[in-house]
């Protein structure tokens, strides 16, 4: 019983991280329709910047903030600098995904060559331990969960209650129709890159805080979980991405405490594969039929 409860506790923490990461991915994917496999690399970069700032004497919060800002910059750089020129050449969806693989290889291995392919341990303390009826969380865990709840609630509200949010949803559904209705789609796309970068950064930084370490494969190794969530939830559905992140994480962690921990990634990937084969458009997706690249 206590095993089950602690598994659920771990699941909530990793679900908090996974939901932020997958929301950034699904926003970007829903908007541009490009399966951006360089997303994990940007997470790694955010985590690495956070580490570097943190060990040069700044508090973890300052470091995390700077890491997230860098993730936004890096996302824009990938979007504007690489994906957009390729999309303007008229590459189809499949080729665009392949472009992002190239970016990911370059980014990951540049980080590897800079970091000597080593694992760096964070030095900040995890903080006090709190217990809630069997669940145990450290201060770091609680901060991560709080950031996640706030940011997920904020994006969900923003998408439905603000002008920009409505414009994002409209442009995701049909860029040409949105433009015909007077929505400045270019600005909306750029705003989406930034918001997506924000969530990507939050995901990468909290992932590193929870692992207490950074290494060059961190983000890309995490990508299968994100893909699983985004594809199961359906492209572009933010709320369901958060929900499925939580469910998947709890399932994985509960299975983990009962002895299947080395098969974590296998469970996630098996879910993904089954989904792809049975219902590739996801449980709640509405944008699956889109065939155009919009960047």
């Amino acid at each position: 019983m206590s095993l089950l409860v602690s598994g659920i506790g771990f699941g909530i923490i990793s679900g908090a991280i996974l939901s932020m990461s997958s929301i950034g991915f699904t926003l970007q994917f829903g908007m541009t329709n490009v399966l951006n496999l360089a997303y994990g690399t940007v997470m790694t970069i955010a985590a690495l910047i956070t580490y570097v700032v943190n060990i040069s004497g700044y508090s973890i919060f300052v470091a995390a903030f700077i890491g997230v800002v860098f993730a936004m910059i890096a996302t824009l750089a990938v979007g504007w600098g690489v994906l957009q020129p390729f999309a303007h050449k008229g590459l189809p969806l499949f080729a665009m995904a392949m472009v992002s693989v190239g970016v990911s290889l370059i980014g990951d291995y540049l980080v590897a060559s800079i970091t000597h392919s080593e694992i760096y341990q964070f030095q900040f303390p995890a903080g006090q331990t709190y217990r809630f009826s069997g669940l145990t969380f450290t201060t770091t865990d609680l901060v991560i969960i709080a950031i996640s709840i706030i940011s997920v609630a904020a994006i969900e509200l923003a998408l439905h209650r603000t002008r920009l949010g409505v414009a994002i949803r409209a442009t995701s559904a049909s860029a040409s129709l949105a433009r015909a209705c007077g929505i400045p789609t270019r600005k909306v796309v750029n705003a989406t890159w930034l918001i997506s970068g924000l969530f990507c950064g939050l995901g990468g930084v909290t992932l590193a805080m929870s692992y207490q370490s950074v290494t060059y494969t961190m983000g890309t190794a995490y990508l299968p979980y994100i893909l699983a969530v985004v594809i199961v939830a359906g492209i572009g559905s933010v709320g369901y991405a958060a929900l499925i992140s939580l469910v998947l994480s709890v399932v994985i962690q509960v299975a983990g405490v009962f002895g299947a921990s080395s098969y974590n990634v296998v469970i996630a990937l098996a879910v993904l594969l089954a989904m792809l084969l049975i219902r590739p458009k996801g449980l709640f997706g509405e944008l699956f039929e889109k065939t155009e690249v919009a960047i």
Binding site: K89, G90, P92, L93, F94, L105, Y109, L276, P280
Partner: protein, 340 residues
């Protein structure tokens, strides 16, 4: 030094076999197989355990199906195993879905299998993998001549596979394959069975992949999970695209350039920076080469648009079609429209 040259030549044979098999599946069959490295891995493992002797013997490594078969049975077993794996994962690739999803699904298959083998130590000794696999017939030759004999053996296998694939490409089966790839509905209307045809190509590719893996294994004698990360497939994809899809000689040149020069010869460079730096930078270069290829030949990674024509000798010949815009050529009808 001589050993280095022979090693590079063996690698050339391995990469060329891999590139041809991928070219067959991807270029002619139109199947997005980003799990290709799995075939090589299976071929290598099976060839390894079939020459290591019964399980648990010496060496302190654990594996299944241990046997000590005479040459060339382990290699053949590896090839057969590659084909069997293709038979198992093939149906998953046959499903119609967005091609970027299909690519992601195959990557996922590659990652899952790698993770399973890494974690389940009992199958092929986990992450450390197999080691000390004896080279076939090496006891009959001196240590200086053997590598060269192995090179000849590798080149001989290359030649056989090359001739086989050339014949296959020109045969009625090859034409059916192109027809299905270019216009599936029309091919079906003519009574062709796309599923069976694609499956056949996929399995043949699996057999050649297994052969390539076995050939490498019996030469280097060791094989672990780090040797077949999902990114290894990209070396072959880049090689095939670089040389020109659907073109075997092109794939050979691509394999030589990308696989041998970039990945193997760099191992003999004088050390630059810390140990391991070159290893990382190689992948940066491969990623960059990949982007360059996509930039200058965006239609390269799509199935070629072939048309039927007569070559100078009067034989039926397939050439690359006029370079239509990349957006029009996808078989699933995905159109690219740039917006914003």
């Amino acid at each position: 030094m001589e050993y280095y040259i022979s090693t590079v030549l063996v690698y050339l044979a391995v990469y060329a076999l891999g590139a041809w098999a991928l070219n067959l599946q991807f270029g002619l069959g139109g199947i997005v197989n980003f799990a290709f490295i799995v075939f090589e891995a299976v071929g290598a493992y099976v060839a390894g355990v079939m020459s290591l002797g019964s399980s648990g013997a010496s060496l302190g490594i654990t594996y299944i199906w241990g046997a000590k078969l005479p040459f060339p049975l382990p290699l053949l077993a590896g090839a057969v195993a590659g084909g069997l794996v293709a038979l198992v994962i093939g149906p998953a690739t046959m499903r119609k879905m967005r091609r970027d999803y299909q690519a992601a699904a195959m990557l996922v298959v590659a990652i899952i299998l790698n993770q399973v083998v890494t974690n389940a130590k009992g199958i092929f000794n986990g992450a450390e993998g197999l080691a000390g696999v004896p080279s076939p017939l090496s006891q009959y030759f001196s240590a200086s001549t053997y590598p060269w004999l192995y090179v000849i053996w590798g080149l001989f296998l290359m030649l056989i596979v090359y001739l086989f694939l050339q014949r296959l490409g020109r045969s009625p089966f090859g034409r059916t394959l192109r027809a299905i790839r270019d216009d599936e509905a029309a091919a079906v209307a003519l009574g062709k069975n796309p599923w069976a045809t694609r499956m056949t190509v996929f399995v043949i590719g699996g057999v050649i992949g297994g052969l390539a893996g076995g050939l490498l294994m019996e030469y280097i004698g060791a094989w672990g999970t780090s040797a077949w990360g999902y990114q290894e497939t990209f070396v072959l994809v880049v090689a095939v695209v670089f040389g020109g899809i659907g073109n075997q000689r092109g794939a050979l040149i691509g394999a030589a350039l990308v696989g041998v020069i970039l990945l193997q010869l760099t191992l003999f460079l004088p050390p630059v920076g810390y140990p391991g730096l070159i290893n990382s930078l190689q992948w940066v270069v491969i990623g960059a080469a990949w982007l360059v290829v996509l930039w200058f030949r965006p239609d390269g990674i799509l199935p070629e648009r072939a048309f039927l024509g007569l070559s100078r000798k009067g034989r039926l010949d397939f050439r690359r079609g006029a370079s239509g815009s990349a957006g029009e050529m996808d078989q699933r009808g995905e159109k690219a429209v740039s917006v914003g």
